[in-house]
């Protein structure tokens, strides 16, 4: 049966939420970064999620083949850059200032990142408790054997 499929579903979400938290942390860490290998200031990054195909068809297939895998978890579709233009601050003495004396700083709002971080943390917790539930159910079904 598909009890072990629960781990795959919740596991995919744990990985996705962790990446989201990592990206939010990286945005916070680079809130003042004016230099990147690609040139220019750091750009805020965002994680986009998409659901894995795990609908009717999967259940039908799993039932007929008694197969695991392909569970309908979540997938990270990609990490995209926020197209918001950088903030320009007048700092003529700054080494990265342009000809007019303006420095381009990444357009990052720490509050927004903190809220995102908290959301990722809570979602991670929720999925971890789903894993806990799956573990208990498997243990209970093992008890039938005793």
């Amino acid at each position: 049966m598909s009890l072990f499929g629960l781990f795959q579903i919740s596991g995919s979400a744990l990985a996705a939420e962790r990446l989201r938290a990592e990206v939010a942390t990286s945005n916070l860490a680079n809130a003042e970064t004016t230099r990147t290998p690609e040139g220019g200031p750091y750009h805020r990054r965002m994680v986009t999620f998409t659901s894995q195909p795990g609908s009717q068809f999967h259940l039908l297939l799993a039932n007929s083949l008694a197969a695991e895998g392909g569970a309908g978890g979540v997938r990270v579709a990609g990490v995209v850059e926020d197209p918001t233009p950088p903030q320009r601050r007048y700092e003529p003495g700054h080494p990265d200032a342009d000809a007019d004396g303006y420095v381009s700083y990444p357009a990052i709002n720490p509050l927004q990142e903190m809220v995102d971080l908290m959301g990722a943390e809570r979602a991670y917790e929720l999925n971890a408790s789903a894993v806990q539930a799956a573990k208990q159910m498997i243990q209970q079904s093992l008890q039938i054997l005793k």
């Binding site: 579903i9 996705a16 659901s51 039932n63 539930a133």
Partner: protein, 123 residues
Amino acid sequence: MSLVDSSLISLLVRALDLTAQRQQLVAQNIANVDTPGYHTRDIDFRGELQRALWAGQADPAAGGAPFVREVPGLIERPDGNNVSIDRESLLMAGDQLQFQTEAALLRSEFSRLQEAISGGGGQ
């Protein structure tokens, strides 16, 4: 109907199967709590069990895949997602207890069988 394949046992097995499948859907809903455009999915547990019961009378192996549907009446967020964390947490806890109950019932049924095989025990 053989000794170890009574209608109660096959009903309990079907119920365990359905509970596990429902838990999988709950896990899927929880996993997609932040996926834009995702809609909550669920199965009609009672209806599916009823269906399995009726199907079981004709063919004990019948049952088939449960029908997964989108849950109506949930509030959709601006990103098109309508997963309610409260609903899913409650369902997760409830399903867990339900699974525990079904497993315990199945176990007691097997131990009753064991008792019958050993001739009432104690001799």
